[in-house]
């Protein structure tokens, strides 16, 4: 170890206050936390601190000057400097990005990278937590109260507004991660996934459904039951309905902004019996009107 006077850059006859001011000057320059990127600063700082421990203390200095103790003072206790944590997760609440906030305003990739690493300072608001909640098609039209079980074991009660569309994100204020200081918690952002329903299709506020009918119902007309999101309703189909004929059930669609509901469109589809029927075959071959009718006439 070097002579402590040399380390501090003072003469052996310097006064206590000169030694202190020399030490402070070096401490300012060499403190590891004031030199986060300079690995050698720590060793130099330790050397200076050890030298000051010895000759900054009047008693120890006297004994050193008298040759009673040598320049190796007691080893200072192991010390973790703040810089060892500052860029790790441990130092996050303190990290401040205002030094390059102006760089982050642009849209380029560099700014994006900076934004990604951004952690705000003290009184940091908690992070927003993201969840996905699947609901049935019917629930998306009528609305529902759902309970979401969180990964941590807790639950969140979510009110699904009537008429919600697939992919909509619901924000529950203050249900996110806790914040630091006075920052307050973040929000829970719940992405609602509407599961497809084999019966219904949605088109804006309207919904549509394809409904199979028998040949008899198509030819003779009649009352049939039609599913809607709010339950089955009865509907009259007119005589001579065809595949593709679309009927409207007013107000059975999704709720509209500002009141009212869309409609449900029922598209009919004629379905013949599964197995060939000899009676039907006999009837059709004797049916003159059917023989003369060519549905592809206007295509020629």
């Amino acid at each position: 170890m070097k002579n402590p006077y040399e380390v501090l850059g003072v003469s052996p006859t310097a006064s206590t206050s000169d030694i202190q001011s020399a030490y402070r000057k070096l401490a300012k320059k060499l403190h590891p936390d004031l030199n986060p990127g300079d690995k050698s600063a720590e060793d130099k700082f330790k050397e200076v601190a050890a030298a000051y421990d010895l000759v900054g203390d009047t008693d120890k200095r006297k004994r050193f000057d008298a040759g009673e103790i040598d320049e190796t003072g007691a080893e200072r206790p192991q010390h973790h400097y703040y810089r060892d944590f500052a860029q790790s997760d441990g130092g996050h609440p303190y990290m401040d990005t205002s030094g390059f906030a102006d760089f982050m305003d642009s849209d380029d990739a560099f700014a994006e990278l900076l934004r990604r690493g951004q952690r705000s300072r003290a009184n940091r608001r908690g992070e927003d937590l993201h969840y996905t909640l699947p609901i049935s098609f019917v629930e998306s039209i009528t609305g529902a109260n759902k309970r979401l079980t969180l990964p941590g074991g807790g639950t969140l009660d979510v009110t699904i507004p009537a008429g919600l569309v697939d992919g909509k994100i619901l924000r529950l204020k203050g249900k996110g991660a806790p914040g630091a200081g006075k920052g307050g918690p973040g929000d829970a952002l719940i992405k609602v996934e509407v599961l497809p329903d084999p019966r219904f299709q949605r088109d804006g506020d309207n919904i549509s459904i394809e409904l199979p009918i028998s040949l008899n119902e198509a030819v003779l007309g009649g009352k049939i039951r039609v599913p809607t999101p709010t339950g089955d309703v009865s509907m009259s189909i007119p005589k001579g309905s065809n595949t593709g004929t679309t009927l409207r059930l007013r107000g059975k669609g999704a709720p509209q902004r500002g009141g009212g509901h869309g409609d449900e469109f029922v598209k009919l589809k004629i379905v013949l019996p599964k197995h060939p029927d000899p009676e039907l075959e006999t009837f059709v071959s004797n049916w003159t009107g059917g023989r003369d009718f060519n549905p592809r006439e206007d295509r020629s």
Partner: protein, 93 residues
């Protein structure tokens, strides 16, 4: 590791009043935990830093405030720079 306020006071040797003042000035920022404020190793190291600034460097409260603010910005920049460097390493041959 996250420790309680009591453990933090013992380990850092701070007085309650001093800690409360430092928290108010945002020199130390505890985390919210279910059992009250929680402190980390980084907070302990920060206390050592603040002490070094006042006792060894001779900074007063206003000076500590300025130094901490600049240091926090510097570490923010160092981290951003580090990420940029990592990112560029992936992109460049």
């Amino acid at each position: 590791m996250i420790i309680t306020k009591k453990e933090f006071l013992t380990q850092s040797g701070l007085k309650v009043k001093t800690l409360e003042l430092w928290i108010e000035q945002e020199w130390v920022i505890p985390r919210d935990t279910p059992s009250g404020p929680g402190f980390s190793d980084a907070d302990i190291a920060r206390v050592h830093l603040i002490r070094d600034l006042t006792e060894k460097v001779g900074a007063n409260d206003a000076g500590v405030d300025v130094i901490l603010h600049l240091l926090d910005q510097l570490h923010g920049m160092r981290r951003a720079f580090e990420q940029l460097q990592t990112h560029l390493k992936d992109k460049l041959p």
